[in-house]
Symmetry: C2
Subunit: 477 residues, 2 copies
Amino acid sequence: MRRAVIATPNTAPLLPKLAGIVGPKNVVTDAADMQPHLVEWRGLYQGRAQCVVKPGSTAEVAAVLKLATETGTPVVAQGGNTGAVGGQTPDDSGRAIILSLQRLNRIREVDAAGSVLVAEAGVTLQQVQAAAAGVDRLFPLSLASEGSCTIGGTLATNAGGTAVVVYGNMRDLTFGIEVVLADGRVWNGLSKLRKDNTGYDLRNLFIGSEGTLGVITAASLRLFPRPCAQATAFVAVPDPEAALALLSRAQGEAGGQVTTFELICRLGLDMVLAHVPGTRDPLGEVSPWYVLLEIGGRDEAALGAGLEAMLAAAFEAGEATDAAIATSLAQRQLLWKIREDLPLAQGGEGGSIKHDISVPVSSIPAFMAEATAMLAARFPGCRPCPFGHMGDGNLHFNVSQPVGMDKRTFLALYGEMNLAVYEVVARYGGSIAAEHGVGQMKRDVLPRFKDPVAMDLMRMLKSGLDPLGILNPGKVL
Amino acid sequence: MRRAVIATPNTAPLLPKLAGIVGPKNVVTDAADMQPHLVEWRGLYQGRAQCVVKPGSTAEVAAVLKLATETGTPVVAQGGNTGAVGGQTPDDSGRAIILSLQRLNRIREVDAAGSVLVAEAGVTLQQVQAAAAGVDRLFPLSLASEGSCTIGGTLATNAGGTAVVVYGNMRDLTFGIEVVLADGRVWNGLSKLRKDNTGYDLRNLFIGSEGTLGVITAASLRLFPRPCAQATAFVAVPDPEAALALLSRAQGEAGGQVTTFELICRLGLDMVLAHVPGTRDPLGEVSPWYVLLEIGGRDEAALGAGLEAMLAAAFEAGEATDAAIATSLAQRQLLWKIREDLPLAQGGEGGSIKHDISVPVSSIPAFMAEATAMLAARFPGCRPCPFGHMGDGNLHFNVSQPVGMDKRTFLALYGEMNLAVYEVVARYGGSIAAEHGVGQMKRDVLPRFKDPVAMDLMRMLKSGLDPLGILNPGKVL
C-alpha cells in the first residue's frame, strides 16, 4: 500500500495576483523581512506564511480578500503585532497570508464640533490620541503599547486599558466601522451617529472578533472633552474590601470623574522598587495594598480639594491608611511609573504565569481570597502578584515563581495553574479573557468556561460570515 | 387544472399545549381580554393573534418557543406595548401568538457595591429606577413611557430618551442578558462583568433586534452613582449653530456632567403654552430656539456657580441671549414640563407627521436648514416643529399640518413627506430610525437608506438565528 502524497498547494499563481493588487513591493516574501510579522513580540508564538501583503487602501484589502476567497487562502490580519494572545500570529502550516494593515495609516477626518475622528486601521493609538489633543479633545483609550498598537488591532480585540472605568472599552468608543468581509464585499458602516436603531448591531459583531469575521479597515471614533485637570493619589489600603469601599466612595464623591482606579499589591510595589531604576516608595509605611487613583475634571483646585476631602473621609472610615497626592507633573509620572512598569518588574523575578481575568467588581475581594488560598495549597511557594483595573473588575492576576525555583519548571505549570485559577473565576461568574481576547492562547480552554449555547451561537456566526473559514483560522474558535 | 387548496393550519392542538406549559389562565383567547395586546397604543397598528400567552418563568418562555418552532407558529414578544413603530403588534393573519412577558416581573438582584441590578423582562423601567434609587444608585434611562414600558421592550428596541447624552442608550447600560432562542434553547448571558473579551459580542446582537432574533427574558443592568445635585436652565439661543456651540461649551466647562441637552423650537413652546394648562413662558422675550440644559453632580452650590459662569461666557460669545435657571424643584419641573408635554401639545394643532431621525451632532444646523427649506418648497404651509435630544444628534423632526388644512388630507402626505425628509437625512449620513427602531413602520423604507451589504448581513443573521422565521415576522426585515 502506498501512502497518499499530500500535494503542497501550488501558490505560485497567488503571489503575482497579490502583486497585481497591491504592487510588487507590497508583497513581502523575503524571510528576514517577513520575520517580524511571523513572531509574536514576546516570542510566545511563531508561525509561517506565504507572504506579508500590505494593501494601501480599503479597495485593495477588498481585492485581496476576494482573491483569498477564490483561492481558499487563509488570511491573518495584523496591525502593530502587539496582541497578547497570539491572535495576530499565523499557524505553522505556511498556507496563510499575513494581511498587514499598517499602510492604511490615514486619519481621514477630525471633527471637533461633532467629537468624531475617522481613522484607518493602521493608524497607531498614539497618533489618534495626538490628533484628538490637537483639536482640544480626548481620545481616552490608553494602553502600554499605544505607541505601536493600531486602531485596527484595538478594535479587533476590543482593547481596554487604564481608562475603561469611566470611558469604556474600544467598543464603547466607536461610532462606526468600515469592514471588508471574507468575500471582499465592503460594509461601509462608518457612521458618526450616537443613536441609530435601524436594525441589528453589526458594529459590535465585528469589534472584538479578532479578525475572524471580517477585516476592519477604518473606524469613526468618539472624542471627549479633555479633562484639563487631574488629581492623582497613591493610596495605601488595608485590604481589597477597603479598596472596594474606596472605589464606591470615589465614584460617588470625588467631585470629578474617576478616570483611573488601579489596584497594586505590596509584592508588586516591592518588585518595582527592586527592579526599576528611579522608583521609590511614595509612602512611609508598608501597606499590603495600594490604589492608584486619578480623578479628572476642569478645575485643578476644586479637584484637589475634592480628592483631599474624599480621602479624609476614607481615612475616617478605615478604607485608607495613608496617601500621597501628586503635586507636580513629575510626581504624577512617578506614581504612574509604578503601575506601568509592574509587568516589566515582574519579569525580574523569574517566571510569571498570567491571568487576564475579570469578575463582578463587588466580588473582587472574595475572589482574590479564594484564588490566593487555592494557589497556596496547590502551588506551594508561588507568589501571587495581582494588580490591575479594579474599577472594571479586571485584574491581571499574575503569579510569580517561588524564589529559587527553576524558571522552566515553574512555567511548565502554566496550563495547570491557568485552569485552577479559571475555575475560581468561573465560580464568581467571571471572564477568563477580560481584555486581551482569546486568540490561540485561550481557544481550547474557552469551551470549558463559556456557556455552550453561546459557543453554538459563535460557531453559527463564524460559519455565516466566513463559510470557507479563511479568516484568521484557529483563533477564538 | 385545479388550484391547490392551501389548508388553514389546525391550531386546535396548540392552545392546550400552551395551557399545559403556562397554565390555562395564562393563555388568553377572550377577544376583549386580548384586545389591549392587539392594538398599538395610538391605534396606528392593529393585528390578530391566536392567543396571548403569559409565561411566568424563563423555562416557560423556553417551552413556548420550543413548541412554536415545532409547530411553525409565529411569536410576537410584547412588553408594555408602548413601542412607537408597531414592532409589538402582530400582523392580521391571526397565525401568531403574542408572548407577553409581563409576568416575568421579578427584580432578581440588586448589588449596590457592584452597581448591578438584575431584572426580568417584564419589570417596568420605573420599577428599575426605583429599585436603584433604593440603594442610592441611579439607573439613568428615562423615557416618557417609563411607568409602563418594560425592560424587555427597552432592550428589544435599544431605547434612548433624555439622558443618552451622558449615559448612553439601553445597550450601553446593560452588562448581560438572558435570551431564549427560537428553538427554545436558553443562552444565559447574564454577566455582571464590565469587561469580557471571550469571543463575539452576542449581547449587542440581541439588544435592538426587536424580538426578531430571540426573546430577552432578563438583563443585568448597570447602575451609576446618583447625581445628588442638578442645575437646570432654559436657555434662549439665536439659532441651531449657537445651540451647537453651547453644547460644546457645556460639555467642556459646566463643572459637571451635561445630563440633558434638549433643543426646542419656538413653535413648540407656543404649542405648549396654547394647549397645556399650567405652563408659562420661562423667559421674557421671544427667541426662535431654546435649550433645556441640565447638569448633574454632587455639590449643588458648585454646580449652580459653574452653570452661571458657563452661561455668562455663552452670552458673551453670542451663543445664548437669555436664560432662566431653576431655583427650586417646582421651577425645575415647570421647565421639564415644557419639554415633556411637547408631543402632547403638538396633537392640539391637528395632524403631525413624525420623524425620529439622527444626524452627526455637528451637522444638525445644516440638516435643519436644508430640511426646513425642502419642506417649505414641497409642502407649503406645513409647520416644522423640531425638538429633541440635540446632545445625541437625535431630533424628533416633527411637522405639524398647515393651519386650517383638513387633518386627514395632511396625514395622507405621511409616506411622501417621510421619504423627502429621509433623503435629506441620508445626505448627512444620518439615521431614519434613531431611537424608536424599525418595527413595521419603517421596514419597507429601510432598504432604500441602509447600506446593501448591511442589509445582507442582517438577513444572514436572521436566517441563522431564526431559520423558520417565527420570531416577530414582518418586523425590521
